[in-house]
Assembly symmetry: C2
Homo-oligomer: 252 residues x 2
């Protein structure tokens, strides 16, 4: 089955597409066992959110787009699940914001690194960083600390979708602006972020791209205003309310 | 790493044990990809429940024990995740209640059936049903409908932990008493059950066994009283409140 075999009109289109891409990711050696378990955790939180993008999450996606456009050196960090779920969407976002793409794995092996880089190139990426691994994030185990010195090591804004809590916290302490996509608003990753986007990565990455395309000609003052108006704590609280109470923010 | 390598005093003991057993289940060809994703969904709901057994879940475990003791022919249905997570605990429950054990897989292959049966025998099961497959549950696809005629086919009370919604509903329509263990109180499986236990299988199966050992000499009237007093809808509502609102039932 390819993506094209799933009719967009299907009521469970997004869910079937996600499941199909994750299964294909396992076949291709991209998605790990831990990645499958993480996928399940995300499904449960998305179910409780009503499988929709909250207004607060769309606001966070807009703030993320402004940060990426303001950055001197934005980098999109890609792990196994991100590569499996949104490879083309990450390439589109990199093009819309002038960001680098860097592969970064919690369970790093040379083989998975290569497979993920190949997968991203097949989806249109011109350059994929992460294989040089000549930089380190302080405070993490050796393998998990590896980054490219001229990639995440040099970035001022980093997008880290579906990131492990330890790594998100260590990145947050480096003084970089950190944008996290995570469906659990109580997770350490979401709480460590300057901009937490509590949404399914399959909806959030295209949403950032859409905002970036709309804002690409905006002046610096407009972008800085969007960044200044964003409130991470309020975004997390709104998402937790939606999950806990099933409340519909739009009517609040 | 074996179970014994994880110190029981570790604050994340149960979580580490669960993760370790699921990983070992994959190595042994017992846990499927779908099983790993399901494990992740369960982790998210357990996290929201506070990784504890609600008083309502303990009440459901007691009602389940009463049903199993009252039954003419109780059967415990075991799938890949159940076999990986609680093989010895299922054998203990079968012994405490005189129940049969039957392997039943959503993604049935002869190889996985054999591996799971072997795994249960290694954990002390004397007889494992499910391999004859000479009975059918109406309303399900051919492979998913297979049961043993002298096992689930003949049972009056069935415990189905972590069951797929289609199968739970089809079993529920057969007029058997159905006990389900599921961490999502909104799932079709939980809603199809006569007795839904909204709890982690790693806590729930030993809890049923404990109640069964305590009730083993109780008279029929006492057991029937426990069964009659149990309210499935109230149990589901209490669990959903705990997940949504983080409420502590014990103080309600």
């Amino acid at each position: 089955m390819t993506d094209a075999d799933i009719p967009e009109s299907h009521p469970r289109y997004e869910s079937l597409l996600t499941r199909h891409r994750i299964e294909a990711g396992v076949e291709d050696g991209i998605t790990s066992r831990q990645g499958l378990i993480a996928q399940g955790r995300g499904e449960a939180f998305d179910y409780l959110l009503g499988e929709r993008t909250l207004p607060s999450a769309d606001g966070a996606a807009r703030a993320a787009a402004a940060h990426l456009l303001l950055a001197d050196h934005p980098v999109l960090s890609v792990n196994g699940n991100v590569a499996a779920l949104v490879p083309g969407e990450v390439v589109d976002l990199a093009e819309a914001t002038g960001a680098d793409i860097e592969v970064n794995l919690f369970n790093r092996t040379a083989e998975r690194m290569e497979r993920i880089a190949d997968h991203l190139r097949e989806h249109g990426a011109s350059e994929v960083k992460g294989l040089t691994a000549d930089g380190r994030i302080p405070g993490l185990d050796h393998e998990r600390a590896k980054v490219d010195a001229d990639g995440i090591g040099d970035a001022d804004v980093v997008l880290v979708p579906l990131e492990d809590g330890d790594r998100a916290e260590a990145l947050g302490e480096l003084g970089k602006v950190e944008v996290v996509i995570d469906l659990n608003p109580m997770s350490r990753s979401a709480r460590a972020a300057d901009v937490p986007i509590v949404d399914n990565v399959i909806r959030a990455v295209p949403a950032i791209t859409e905002h970036a395309r709309e804002l690409v000609d905006a002046d610096r003052e407009t972008l800085e205003g969007i960044v200044a108006d964003f409130d991470a704590d309020e975004t997390l609280a709104a998402a937790e309310r939606a999950i806990r109470e099933g409340s519909d923010e739009a009517e609040a």
